[in-house]
């Protein structure tokens, strides 16, 4: 066993200060290891920790004991046990999540993302790859390239990892045979060309025996003239350094305002460098100014670079807040509200095209809808025919390309140019789960070319002239609950009060604007989105809009709410129990739904999500139509 090599660096004992000096200025490389279940990933990482003396004696003792108890290597040390963390997975003998490990050599500190190899955990690998500069793809020398090898390489490439290492592992089990290694490298080269991987480095190793891990060539692979795995990892260029060559961008995280005399903008520099006196532009407003100071706790800096967290002050009093990006004045990023992106779906509940999700990109958070995907990527067949699959949605762990629309323009760059301004996450508005991650490709239209027409007569003028505050009274409830009837009564009252109103009714809209839509979940979402847009235009015109739609999904009602100005969206829950609505059955629809003649009917075979906190609730069992209408009027007073 390798116990003999388990010695600490002699310099530590001889001259601790020299050792500390040496280690004070290391660089930092993040990499990810990927392979299928039995490729020996955990063993390799355990070995790296072991060889870089990151295991203490007590851990070693525990490891030896565990190896005998649950190990898979007989009486030998099972390095995998060092890194397989959680109790549940220890029992199953597999890694189920992303784990981060640390080790260091004289030149570098390394952060390793250890991610699982089996199919259903694409999301974990994507997560680990998102912060990695390098990917180590493990292949079992006995098995050669597998479907998983292709998938992992594709994902690493998709996430923009520029440095790929093909680690051909378990060479000890093929008698360190050169031709086996050469064949795997040749196969991989062909595949790499197919999917656009420009370069990779192949190393023959044995994680278990330690060949070519820290030094090369091992006595068993004299035919190999390349670097050891560690030697190679120590020389890879770090993405952070390359980012300094790009134009300056700093997303503003936090406005630092300790007193009236100081106003600083805090953030992590995403790319480029910045100096005192540099001309900058605030995006998306387009305002320009000059860097006054670069403030840190350790004093002011003349210059700061990508990867540093700083606070910047500007010469001019310009509007700038969280979500804005401070950028090089002569080379700012674009802003847009329609994109094409690659999406990785990460939630058990599939993507709902048309639903509003919170999109977070750098420090910007907006509401975004995803259109029906153009196609899904068959990750098991990338580079081959059948790579693109037709789909209407994306399930957990699937990857696809789709259009994304945001409710306001966001500042962005293509992911291949900038991880900081091109990578985003999607968050479900109800569960708050992170449901997807995406990489922006390009804007579908240059939002900068479709400036909002600055009209002289504003929405305020429209509203003033009508002597009212525009609003949307959004009636929601089951079919037959009385939405249209009550909305009609409310509109009559407003009309008597000389107010300008418009009633958008569900059935009527479906005769015209939305006659192309059916009643599937996706169509119902689109129905509501369009009605929301129309209602929004009408509020801009100064009207009080009444809408009567079942609008069964909370997320869609919230989406419409988010479109409107603050306090202009009034959600009115027409609260009628299903039995009562069904009994009324004014249009005979419940009967049809019960008999199966009508599909996707809310309350019967499609859910209704009641509002949690509607602005107004009317109970139609206890109130008459007249009482309900009076109650609503009393709640929305004053009208101006």
């Amino acid at each position: 066993m390798a116990d003999a090599s388990y010695e600490t660096d002699a310099l530590i004992a001889d001259d601790i200060n020299a050792y500390l000096d040496q280690h004070q200025n290391k660089s930092l490389l993040r990499f990810i290891t990927c392979g299928s279940v039995d490729d020996g990933k955990s063993t390799l990482i355990g070995r790296l920790l072991y060889d870089s003396k990151m295991i203490f004696e007590d851990q070693l003792a525990a490891l030896e004991a565990d190896s005998k108890k649950v190990g898979t290597q007989g009486q030998d040390i099972d390095f995998a046990l060092l890194v397989d963390g959680l109790a549940a997975e220890r029992e199953q003998g597999i890694t189920i999540d992303v784990a981060y490990r640390f080790f260091a050599t004289e030149k570098r500190k390394f952060i390793v993302a250890d991610t699982p190899g089996h199919e259903q955990y694409t999301r974990n690998m994507v997560t680990g790859a998102s912060t990695a500069d390098c990917a180590v793809i493990l292949v079992d020398a006995r098995k050669g390239m597998l479907v998983q090898t292709r998938r992992h390489s594709y994902l690493a490439h998709l996430l923009g990892i520029k440095h790929l290492v093909l680690a051909v592992n378990k060479m000890d089990l093929v008698d360190y045979d050169q031709s086996t290694f050469d064949q795997i490298v040749a196969d991989y080269s062909t595949f790499a060309d197919e999917i656009g991987i420009e370069t990779f480095t192949a190393v023959p190793i044995s994680g278990f025996k330690g060949d070519n891990i820290t030094s090369s060539p091992s006595a068993n692979t004299t035919w190999y003239d390349g670097p050891s795995l560690i030697d190679h990892l120590e020389t890879i260029e770090i993405a952070n350094v390359a980012a300094q060559e790009k134009p300056f961008r700093m997303p503003v995280q936090w406005v630092n305002r300790p007193n009236l005399d100081f106003r600083g903008f805090s953030g992590l520099i995403g790319s480029g460098t910045v100096k005192r006196g540099d001309a900058v532009r605030i995006v998306p407003s387009g305002k320009t100014s000059t860097i006054k100071t670069i403030v840190t706790y350790d004093g002011e800096l003349d210059e700061a670079v990508a990867g540093q967290s700083v606070t910047i002050t500007l010469e001019d009093e310009v509007d700038c807040s969280r979500g804005d990006v401070i950028a090089a004045a002569d080379n700012p990023p674009e802003a847009s509200d329609q994109f094409e992106a690659t999406l990785v779906w990460m939630d058990d509940e599939a993507l709902k095209p048309g639903r509003g999700y919170t999109l977070k990109l750098a420090s910007q958070s907006v509401t975004a809808t995803v259109q029906e995907p153009k196609y899904e990527i068959n990750v098991n067949n990338v580079g081959g025919s059948g790579e693109k699959l037709a789909t209407k949605t994306l399930e957990l762990n699937s990857i696809g390309v789709a259009e994304i629309h945001t409710d306001r323009p966001i500042t962005f760059e293509a992911y291949e140019d900038s991880r900081a301004l091109g990578g985003f996450i999607l968050v479900d508005k109800i569960t708050n789960a992170t449901v997807g991650a995406g990489m922006l490709h390009f804007s579908l239209r240059r939002a900068s070319n479709v400036h909002w027409q600055a009209t002289t007569i504003t929405r305020d003028h429209h509203a003033d002239l009508k002597n009212q505050k525009p609003r949307v009274l959004w009636f929601t409830g089951l079919s037959g609950s009385g939405k249209s009837t009550i909305a009609n009564a409310v509109e009559q009252r407003l009309n008597v009060m000389n107010r300008h109103t418009f009633l958008l009714d569900g059935d009527n809209v479906r005769h015209g604007l939305n006659k192309d839509l059916g009643f599937t979940e996706a169509d119902r979402i689109e129905n509501i989105r369009r009605v929301g847009e129309v209602a929004k235009l009408m509020t801009d015109a100064g009207l009080i809009v009444l809408t009567a739609f079942i609008s069964p999904f909370r997320a869609e009602r919230d989406l419409v709410r988010a479109m409107m100005e603050d306090c202009e969206f009034i959600e009115i829950f027409v609260d009628t129990p299903l039995e009562v609505a069904e009994q009324r059955d004014v249009k005979g629809l419940y009967k049809k739904a019960r008999s199966g003649d009508l599909k996707n009917f809310t309350g019967i075979d499609s859910p209704y999500e009641a509002p949690d906190e509607p602005e107004i609730r009317v109970n139609t069992v206890e109130m008459t139509v007249e009482e309900a209408a009076d109650h609503i009027i009393s709640q929305i007073m004053p009208l101006k």
């Binding site: 660089s27 565990d66 963390g85 995280q253 750098a362 990578g423």
Partner: protein
């Protein structure tokens, strides 16, 4: 072109994390244990918001059994940072006189796990910074930087939110909270190197000095308050003066001392690097319930 060192990058990352929390959480708090990791975390908070003071209070979940030196530094550190210091002692544990000698694991559960939950609920904090590092322990290696907790403070390792790039999802429902670990990617050596580079004040107990010690169940401990020890133990422990220091700081009767002559930072780091037992071994907490001790504690709400 400037190549950032690993410490500069770790610092920038931690600062970025803290600013995200300040911008997105309604009522954040920084948990402060007075140990070396807390000292580094507090130092980073000062840097993150300079020239403003950090926009959240410091909170110490106290067991009443910490070392006197820790209490002294606690007050000073908060004052230096211009931050409000909140101290929470579980009133129930206090009333029942829970102590490490008579109550074993219950001591940690009542004072720390339950105490922390009470304190967070009492003040209504929705985000709490903690100084835990992923290299400390196996189950920590898989925890997110933003670790989501249910309204009961439970942690479900299978329901963690994926964390991509440096985008943190801080959204939560009412009553739920987030534990945030800005030092996730630091190792013990990084912490020591940073303390040296930045000249951060830490509790003197980390450095060797002659101290009154006693042996208890095979471990070596420091008699920080001999009268109180006598009262709880039922006898006055036999005291020997030895040159000792501590590799980790917790409750004085639960934190093993190591015999050492390391009296400077460089000495301490040297000793840390040469030593062959890992940091947490001095603490009794991880050895409960086999290797799954910490994972189980976290599911119950321990930090």
């Amino acid at each position: 072109m400037r190549r950032l060192t690993h410490l500069e990058r770790l610092e920038a990352e931690s600062i970025h994390i803290m600013r995200e929390v300040a911008a997105e959480a309604a009522k954040p708090v920084m948990l402060y244990s007075v140990g070396k990791d807390s000292a580094v975390m507090l130092h980073l908070a000062k840097k993150a918001f300079y020239p403003s003071p950090p926009p959240f209070p410091l909170m110490h979940v106290d067991t009443t059994w910490k070392f006197k030196d820790m209490y002294a530094l606690r007050e000073k550190a908060a004052q230096d940072a211009g931050m409000e210091l909140l101290v929470w002692q579980n009133p129930e544990a206090k009333e029942r006189g829970i102590n490490p000698f008579d109550h074993g694991a219950l001591h940690t559960d009542m004072w720390k796990t339950q105490g922390l939950k009470q304190a967070l609920d009492h003040h209504g904090f929705d985000a709490a910074f903690g100084g835990a590092r992923r290299d400390e322990e196996k189950s920590r290696a898989k925890e997110r930087i933003f670790s989501f907790r249910t309204a009961n403070h439970g942690w479900d390792p299978k329901q963690q939110r994926p964390e991509l790039w440096n985008l943190y999802n801080a959204k939560k429902a009412k009553g739920e909270s987030i534990r945030v670990f800005p030092l996730s990617n630091w190792t013990e050596l990084d912490i020591w190197q940073y303390i040296m580079a930045e000249n951060i004040e830490i509790v003197p107990l980390y450095f060797a000095a002659p101290r009154p010690t006693y042996e208890y169940e095979g471990g070596l401990f420091m008699a920080d308050d001999i009268d109180r020890l006598e009262k709880v133990m039922g006898h006055r422990p036999e005291i020997t003066e030895r040159s000792v220091r501590f590799r980790t700081l917790g409750c004085s009767p639960l934190t093993g001392a190591v015999e050492s002559e390391a009296s400077t930072l460089a000495d301490v780091v040297q000793e840390m690097l040469l030593t062959t037992t890992s940091e947490r071994q001095g603490r009794v907490i991880d050895q409960d319930e086999g290797g799954a001790g910490m994972e189980k504690k976290k599911q119950e709400g321990y930090f």
